[in-house]
Symmetry: C2
Subunit: 321 residues, 2 copies
Amino acid sequence: MASEFDLIDRYFKRPAPAGMLGVGDDCALFDVPAGMQVATSTDLLIEGRHFFADVDPRALGHKSLAVNVSDLAAMGARPIGCLLGLALPRADESWVAAFAQGFHAMADQAGCPLIGGDTTGNPGALAISVTVFGAVRPDAALRRAGARVGDDIWVSGTLGDADIAYRLMSGQMPADDALLARTRTALEWPQPRFTLGPALAGVAHAAIDISDGLLQDLGHILKASRVGARLYLDAMPVSAALADVAPARVRHAVLAGGDVYELCFTAPPDRAAAIRGIGDDCGVAVSRIGVVEAGGELAVLDADGTPLRDLPRGFDHFRSS
Amino acid sequence: MASEFDLIDRYFKRPAPAGMLGVGDDCALFDVPAGMQVATSTDLLIEGRHFFADVDPRALGHKSLAVNVSDLAAMGARPIGCLLGLALPRADESWVAAFAQGFHAMADQAGCPLIGGDTTGNPGALAISVTVFGAVRPDAALRRAGARVGDDIWVSGTLGDADIAYRLMSGQMPADDALLARTRTALEWPQPRFTLGPALAGVAHAAIDISDGLLQDLGHILKASRVGARLYLDAMPVSAALADVAPARVRHAVLAGGDVYELCFTAPPDRAAAIRGIGDDCGVAVSRIGVVEAGGELAVLDADGTPLRDLPRGFDHFRSS
């Protein structure tokens, strides 16, 4: 196997962007625009726990960064750069090359260049640590605690695909190649909303990304903001790929399916037109799915206005499997 | 086992320092002093690879952060805060409590509070990811490429202890409880030079911490700066704890032993008095051990001025074992 230093040089080292010192010193250095705070988030992903061992390494490289960029978006922060830690159990240079390709492509797309990291061998499972940095105006950051009674509740994109793909791949649903073909991209190549999130900063009150499922993640906003919510089931943006799936299965996927990386956010009703305009500018569908209410309850109403009973708990696919 | 969220709340969540948003949102937020750059570094540590599985968890918490704070020091950056990712294979709450205690104590000491992170279960080995942030004036950062011909070469503290402790604990040296008692602290509780490093910013030309051994790490400075060096063996600050160890063993430990986390730095000769003063102010011994020369060679001279042959390569204890 090529040494750690060789692999870094060959696949991860790139010229540092202007104003930055990148891979190859004790620290990476970066500038922060005047008046902005740094937003930062880190994830530690473990083979078998957070991804399948046989996943396409290019997709894994993409997703490792995408889920962290999604955290920046959920804070309303614009990406600055990222760090990558890799503990590699296998001497497989082509794997590293493909992983790096997927990672860099996501970094280029989001404007979040790799500026440092740590690569090591590991006798056990593959471990991936990603840390991202972004910049956000302190008064515009989309904190979980910002929701207010009367706010509309919105989600971006469509819901449900990733959950169905996961269930097909893990054998929890009977094999269906056509359905898997339609849904798999959502699970393996999630598109973080790195344009929409910063555009909502200062417009929306609160935001979160739906990594653990809509109800659970919205629940974090409600708890932090000390409010409740009412959601409308028939307002949910269900993926068209799920047209042939049993309604109960779809409902569960939409309300509780994790690994989505769409944004759930709240905003005053008088900003609805502005938010639709922002969605158009960013090329991302936005759907109004409910309202913030007083109290701590979370209710989901069906088309008749009847509250659903036994709401599914949110969960992380790989943790709960 | 208590859930991930419970463990975070109980052992890692603390009130965020002023101007920061800490654990519990999509991102942590922090301010950067005007005119400063952010310095950042990350490490991914794996059980069995970077530390013994039975290490005292309090020491492990300390060291996990200490080695990253050391990277900030080697850049001349003052700590701002840190992120922690933990993948836990065992349902051992007392282990987590002890780890958190050691981690927070180091964070308090260095002024580097934990502001966010990620905790997950892991079927395999314990994995620890730490990311640190610091602030440094762009023109004062101690980059590896800054050494100039004629600079003095300095190291802080003393060398050799950690290597001897590692060899005793791994069975590469015959058991010697008294010697282990004198050296073990250096291996398990390294003290990063978080005061000395920032004090040297703008005074020294280049710096690195000795995580992989003096010769290898100084070699990184020489390569990045396109210079060579001459070191004086009898100027090396050997730990007094090694007085009874065979000279060849000590020499190897001093020149090639990793896991030291002292700073090796270069500075113009006319700053020698200033550097001694900074060392005094910081309560850290500083020793002048050589000079930077033209060319790419690294020579170590014994007391007679004879260059040593077969210089030991630097290495990482746990990687090369």
